[in-house]
Symmetry: C2
């Protein structure tokens, strides 16, 4: 966010919410816009690095989730990212061809292509996660104790109610799958 100086500037950082909420529900403008700006900066960190590798956000997402869930099936990834196999195919192929991700036939079901990151892939995945972690950690430092828990609760609550538990379990399972590889 280099500069957002749209001619003049104001001062009040919070909208007037005292008491009743006007007719037809007054939009929660501040959070709507903060989500936009915060997310943009958040992914921007990684975008810059990815560009040097000739990759985009799509590659990042695949690399990230394969890293977090070693042995993931292609179908799992499709379901998770909610994209088509054709879209996934393109970026996955590049990641494989360039040695960031590798496939192994499933032991039980040999039609399956289980996905794993290579050491090279792990290095990039960790580099990207490190950048994002740095930003988040800085935010938590600003927020003081309870910041992490608060953020987790807020973000979880934003997720569609019917998919929330699945996402939380997914994240928890990844933590187990990877263990501590600091």
């Amino acid at each position: 966010m280099a500069d957002v100086n749209v001619s003049r500037i104001g001062d009040r950082a919070t909208p007037p919410e005292g008491g009743r909420e006007a007719a037809s529900v007054e939009p929660i403008w501040d959070v709507i816009e903060l989500l936009f700006f915060a997310y943009k900066d958040f992914v921007g960190d990684a975008d810059d690095v990815l560009a040097k590798f000739g990759f985009g956000r799509a590659h990042h997402r695949v690399l990230h989730f394969v890293f977090r869930h070693p042995g993931m099936k292609v179908a799992d990834l499709l379901d998770l990212l909610k994209i088509t196999k054709q879209s996934l195919g393109r970026v996955l192929k590049q990641l494989i061809d360039q040695g960031y991700v590798e496939q192994k036939a499933g032991a039980n079901d040999r039609r399956q292509r289980l996905l794993y990151v290579t050491p090279k892939g792990e290095q990039l995945a960790m580099k990207l996660a490190g950048l994002q972690t740095k930003r988040i950690a800085r935010a938590f430092a600003d927020l003081g104790p309870g910041g992490h828990e608060g953020a987790r609760r807020f973000l979880s609550a934003l997720i569609d109610a019917d998919g929330r538990d699945g996402v939380l379990r997914f994240i928890a399972r990844a933590d187990r799958a990877q263990g501590s590889r600091g």
Copy 2:
């Protein structure tokens, strides 16, 4: 998030962070992934409506910011969205041609095209903001008191330090510019 059932499921919702933080900083996986899933669902609400109008996220962003900052210059919008005038031009033209946004020459500087939403544009902007507000309000209800303030602080802290004040002032100014139009 229809379903994220990647074969098996886990239980622990928070990573083991007790005490020291391994070598080279352990990534804050939960927040990294929650941001991804939360943001996806957050923008998904609007995407569905926009699709019915033949619009995309790019249209939403333009409509949103013009609505929030009536009389914005084209240059302001470019600086805010960080896109090129060619990219903006395409979607802005559609919004104007279809009567959602209108332009007026600047009073002082007649080269400027000041942007305003039409009543039709306001209606759509409010509809989209309403959907997002519903999601955020639901999250705040889950979080209890302090949820709004906590979210605002967390998201603000995520923004690049050097642009943060500008963004906060921008949001504050918009609140004044629009007043209560609930």
